[in-house]
């Protein structure tokens, strides 16, 4: 139709509104077979990893042996802002701590932890609208 032209737009993702896709896509667990700091990690890999991975089929788990280094949990995430990834060194921690740290990584969005400036962050404008002095009842208008 003449007189109406359009402004191109790209849709914005709203993860969770329809389908939810976990942002964590890959977790790498590195351990050392000899070092004492890796004991908790080795126990985790031997006793709990198999069951843990079955709960998260959407995440790739990679186990790497890194002799001489402390054990590290490394998470890789989906998303434009989150490509750096997160890593947690679990040296000298026991099996339960390793599992909890792994859960932290798996449940994260991959973004850096920040103190929010506003309480609400939304793509939608306010439902009731911003207050306007012109739309106040004339009896309650501010009189100079």
């Amino acid at each position: 139709m003449t007189g109406i032209s359009f402004i191109q737009q790209v849709s914005k993702s709203r993860n969770g509104v329809g389908a939810f896709i976990r942002p964590c896509k890959k977790v790498t667990l590195t351990f050392c077979n000899f070092g004492g700091s890796s004991k908790g990690m080795r126990d985790f890999l031997r006793l709990r990893l198999a069951k843990f991975t079955k709960e998260y089929p959407e995440i790739q788990f990679q186990v790497l042996q890194k002799p001489g280094f402390h054990p590290v949990l490394k998470g890789e995430y989906i998303g434009s802002e989150a490509n750096v990834g997160k890593q947690i060194c679990v040296k000298n921690w026991n099996i339960d701590v390793v599992e909890n740290k792994l859960k932290l990584l798996v449940n994260s969005s991959g973004k850096q932890l920040k103190k929010p400036k506003q309480n609400v962050k939304s793509l939608n404008e306010s439902v009731r609208g911003i207050w306007s002095p012109f739309h106040v009842d004339p009896a309650h208008r501010y009189k100079i």
Binding site: I4, I7, Q60
Partner: protein
């Protein structure tokens, strides 16, 4: 496209409502047809460059020798492409990124891993593996159908150009690129064979990533070489979008129409677009005058409702657009002109952005045809 297909396309009719509307209104259904004389006088022109990338995706041409020629060109089921190599289901189930993608998208057991592998392989010059061209073509049509249907049901009065723009916002190249890369986690296969060998990566793993022939190659970090020799080179956005389209068509093949519709609703239609911000009117006053005349309402009048600071540096005027005694819309601005324009634009948007309370698309089970209005004249 053959001549017979061109003729078929020209006899397209547009009717939004089905036959259960009252007979008296049957005469107002619009038909768009080209003159039969035009096909005799006009020379066959090359296909126009599409404004929208989703339309371009629906018209992908096959420049290939793998397509076996059939004598009956209209027997669409008989077209076949032969490939030298395919990844089998057993091999595909060994690729971790494929298993992860399958679980991430919550695909059913029917959906085979080899289909996912094929969806991630775009047409390349030197590759003999089965590619996603046909799948992405079909997937583009599926997406176009369901998204357009949803938009027509939600915004019945939307002008056609805005409707197409809104569809592009949902399923255009950039949108689906965002879906593939930033939501689904599909990676592009960008490392060289040497790097893969040094990393001791199994040869099979590269099939779990998106493979396509690119216009650019990253020679080193920070240095990009532009220019490719391949005819089949596509942009990054198109490659990722084609993967999404192919995955959708794979879902149709394995799980049927209902599952595809649900999938598109969950992954594509759950995304946010702002249809109101897509409008750009050239002269809203004239448009509104025409519109109100067509709707048999009184001509628009603009009245100042309230104002402040007229002679100051920051005045505010609240202006209303009226049709007789009814206020159509309100506009505010720092000048009377600005406020007037805003009110006219808002009045037009109030008409075009009408939404029924419970929008039902025609493919829904509990669809009842909703009569909104007789439609608008095309100028």
């Amino acid at each position: 496209m053959s001549a017979s297909m061109l003729r078929f396309a020209s006899r397209r009719t547009v009717s939004i409502y089905n036959s259960s509307i009252p007979k008296a209104l049957n005469t107002t259904i619009r038909c768009i047809a080209t003159s039969p004389v035009k096909t005799l006088t006009e020379t066959k022109s090359s296909f126009p460059d599409h404004k929208f990338s989703y339309e371009k995706a629906c018209r992908q041409a096959l420049v290939d020798n793998t397509l076996t020629n059939k004598s009956d060109t209209l027997d669409f089921g008989a077209y076949q492409r032969t490939f030298k190599l395919t990844i089998s289901e057993e091999e595909a189930s060994k690729i971790p990124s494929i298993l992860a993608l399958h679980a991430r998208l919550n695909l059913s057991k029917n959906y085979q891993y080899s289909t996912l592998v094929r969806s991630l392989t775009c047409q390349t010059a030197d590759s003999d593996y089965a590619d996603n061209l046909q799948m992405s073509l079909f997937g583009a049509h599926l997406l176009s159908y369901y998204v357009t249907e949803h938009l027509i049901a939600t915004y019945p009065r939307l002008p056609v150009s805005i409707l197409r723009n809104a569809t592009e916002a949902y399923i255009g190249d950039y949108s689906l690129y965002d879906v593939a890369k930033n939501v689904w986690g599909i990676e592009a296969d960008s490392t060289s064979n040497l790097e893969k060998y040094l990393a001791k990566e199994p040869r099979l793993f590269r099939f779990g990533r998106l493979r396509f022939s690119s216009h650019t190659t990253e020679v080193e970090k920070g240095i990009t070489k532009i220019g490719s020799t391949s005819e089949l080179a596509i942009t990054k956005a198109t490659a990722f979008s084609n993967a999404v389209r192919a995955i959708v068509s794979g879902l149709y093949a394995h799980d049927g129409e209902e599952a595809t519709k649900e999938f598109i609703k969950n992954h594509i239609l759950s995304r946010k677009i702002d249809v109101g911000k897509m409008f750009q009117f050239r002269s809203p006053g004239k448009m509104l005058v025409k519109l109100l005349k067509a709707q048999k309402m009184e001509a628009p009048t603009i009245r100042l409702i309230s104002e402040t600071g007229r002679n100051s540096s920051s005045p505010v005027f609240i202006v209303g657009c009226f049709s007789g005694e009814h206020m159509l819309a309100e506009g505010q601005g720092s000048s009377l002109k600005e406020a007037r324009i805003r009110s006219l634009v808002d009045a037009l948007k109030a008409f075009y952005l009408y939404r029924p309370l419970d929008p039902k698309a025609s493919s829904d089970k509990d669809f009842k045809p909703l009569f909104v209005d007789a439609g608008e004249t095309f100028y």
